[in-house]
């Protein structure tokens, strides 16, 4: 036979073999994709109200658990945030002056992910060197178990341990404890049971302070169109207090769950130290200040200025409520849905959307990634510039009041300047400690900072006037 035909035959055989190999590999791929398309949820363990360890829940929900465990990662910087635990007091030197006399003058680090919030609290100088109440554990631990145990110890019948009443009773008991004692009752940072009902995985509010806060908010007349269940409750007969666990939609819950902690709050007077959200007038900064004024509240008295101050915590929920993104939920951007195989899961690696623009932003905004990022950073850069000017003005005001006081100005003469110090520092603090650097509500942030600057400058004028008057009287 012709030698050429032999070579052709051999080549065809080899190519056909390779082709068959490829086709079978494709067959396997097709089979794999088709297998993905079948629903995958395997119940391998029973999860109950007494399952406090997230790793057990993770056996039934491995995909969600994998992403949840990634909150352990840190060391990523975004232009104005991220999770590198640097010392903010060094980066923003005005803070040591603004917070003088309050534990935050010791240390205030950038926070890391949910995985770290119990560990990091135990390390901070604020807790190590100053006495703190058990109220802190409300948001720095998976406190559900501790509340229940404390409730039983406080006399609640044990068969009621899984009720809301138990959480309430434990909340009261632990708030009143010194932090060091309360800390021995908790084991874990954030866990599944803090947000999910064990049988159905339904979202559920476990923190009594948010329940109280929402009741107060519902009873106020601050419009909350982004929380329609509250608007519906207001339109009803209002006989039963507003209850988010009963009335809120799943969409609202995907934000309210976060509002259990990502809010402004204060610890009430001893001995109870109840954790309270200042929402009786509404969610806006002036309404919170009004709440504090009505209650005659101050966190501490500023040693140089003599004014009553509040250290604002992190009013993310409140600022988001004033912004254009209030129509989407916290989880939509910070814990976006993502596809794993054919399954759509919520990514439990809660973090800055800037680190996951595709899933967080592009689901709605069909715009290139770098353009989206530029838009966000533009807003944040502008807010940061205003914020620096406002902080500088507040620091100048503190010096002006101190100087007037040393020159002999009376408390009465300094009253106006001190009141302006209280409100201007509260507003700057509100935007500074809110963790979106203005993005959650850009125009509202700029408005608040403009108000703060104006009040601080008016305060400086007032203090100068008081100082001049004191000097004139002394001569």
């Amino acid at each position: 036979m012709n030698k050429r035909w032999i070579w052709i035959g051999a080549a065809v055989a080899v190519l056909a073999a390779l082709g068959t190999f490829g086709i079978l590999a494709l067959l396997q791929n097709v089979a794999q994709r088709q297998a993905e398309a079948r629903e995958v949820a395997f119940r391998v363990v029973e999860i109950t109200e007494d399952t406090y360890e997230s790793s057990v829940w993770g056996r039934n929900f491995p995909l969600q658990y994998d992403t949840f465990m990634r909150t352990e990662e840190y060391g990523v910087e975004t232009p104005f945030g991220g999770n590198v635990p640097y010392e903010k007091l060094d980066k923003y030197p005005q803070l040591r002056i603004m917070w003088q006399g309050f534990p935050f003058e010791l240390s205030f680090r950038e926070d890391r992910g949910h995985h770290w919030f119990l560990f990091d609290q135990r390390q901070t100088r604020r807790v190590q060197e100053r006495a703190q109440p058990g109220s802190c554990l409300h948001c720095h631990s998976s406190v559900v178990e501790a509340y229940r145990i404390a409730a039983v110890q406080a006399g609640l019948p044990v068969e009621k341990i899984h009720t809301e009443e138990a959480l309430r009773k434990g909340f009261d008991a632990i708030n009143a404890m010194p932090w060091a004692e309360a800390d021995t009752l908790v084991r874990n940072p954030l866990a599944c049971i803090d947000c999910h009902e064990p049988q159905t995985m339904r979202l559920r509010i476990t923190r009594p302070s948010l329940k109280d806060g929402l009741v107060k908010l519902a009873n106020s007349d601050d419009p909350v169109p982004h929380l329609p269940s509250i608007e519906r409750w207001r339109a009803g007969d209002r006989r039963v207090p507003y209850d988010a666990n009963r009335l809120a939609s799943r969409h609202e819950m995907r934000s309210m769950i976060c509002a259990q902690c990502h809010v402004e709050y204060y610890f009430d007077r001893p001995p109870v130290r109840t954790l309270i959200f200042p929402w009786s007038e509404g969610l806006k900064v002036e309404q919170q200040l009004q709440h504090y004024d009505n209650y005659g509240w101050r966190d501490w008295t500023h040693p140089r200025a003599g004014s009553g101050q509040m250290k604002v915590q992190h009013p993310e929920f409140e600022l988001w409520s004033q912004g254009p993104h209030a129509n989407v939920a916290c989880a939509d951007c910070h814990m976006p849905f993502e596809r794993v195989g054919a399954v759509k899961i919520t990514n439990h690696h809660a973090r800055s959307p800037l680190l996951n623009i595709r899933q967080s932003c592009q689901t709605c905004h069909n715009v290139a990634e770098d353009e989206l990022k530029r838009r966000v950073v533009t807003i944040q850069t502008r807010t940061a510039a205003l914020e620096k000017k406002a902080k500088d003005a507040v620091v100048e005001l503190i010096a002006a009041i101190e100087s007037a006081h040393q020159a002999g100005a009376t408390d009465e003469a300094l009253n106006e300047a001190r009141t302006l110090h209280r409100s201007s520092q509260f507003k700057v603090d509100w935007i500074f400690n809110e963790n979106s650097r203005g993005f959650h509500a850009p125009q509202e942030s700029a408005r608040i900072l403009a108000e703060a600057m104006n009040e601080a400058r008016k305060g400086i004028l007032s203090a100068h006037k008081a100082e001049a008057a004191a000097k004139a009287a002394g001569q």
């Binding site: 036979m1 398309a37 054919a342």
Partner: protein, 164 residues
């Protein structure tokens, strides 16, 4: 053996392998529901699970009773339709096999131009003024159809067919 191969047996072996390949190919094509892709049924588009969300939201959209997937996403002329089907089919198969596509799934410029043209195909009675304006000497003449920078139906009506 060597004599048998050199004497023409090699062709028999080649034929055997070719037959195997044809069989495996046919079996794979059957398993992958290859022939179904010749149809216009929207159900075919959810053979692959990545299209589920899109299909589900189309079923709830304003266009569900008047336009199927292909009515918007393939050209309406017979040649363009089959060329488009072939290009999309190849691209989608490669993307879904290798799992290397952008998520959320985005329309590329070619696909976008097809959809834009199909908006006009059905709604010409309503939009002939606009179409004329951008092709004639009107105010919108300099705005090319279907481009990001130009006048575009989808710029405002992005979700009439389906959500993301």
């Amino acid at each position: 053996m060597r004599d048998w191969l050199m004497g023409g047996g090699i062709l028999l072996v080649a034929a055997l392998f070719l037959g195997l390949m044809a069989g495996a190919g046919a079996f794979t094509a059957d398993r992958a529901q290859a022939l179904s892709y010749l149809s216009d049924d929207p159900q075919v588009c959810v053979n692959c699970h990545v299209m589920r969300e899109v299909h589900t939201s189309w079923e709830r959209s304003s266009h569900r009773n008047v336009a199927r997937c292909v009515d918007c996403h393939l050209p309406h002329d017979p040649v363009g339709k089959w060329v488009g089907k072939a290009i999309d089919g190849w691209n989608h198969s490669v993307a879904f096999t290798l799992q290397n596509f952008h998520e959320p799934i985005q329309l590329k410029p070619r696909g976008r131009a097809i959809v834009e043209q199909n908006c006009v195909n059905c709604h010409i009675d309503l939009v002939h003024g606009i179409v004329h304006a951008r092709t004639g000497a009107g105010a919108h003449a300099s705005l090319p159809a279907g481009k990001r920078s130009g006048i575009s139906c989808l710029h405002c009506h992005l979700d009439v067919g389906h959500g993301q």
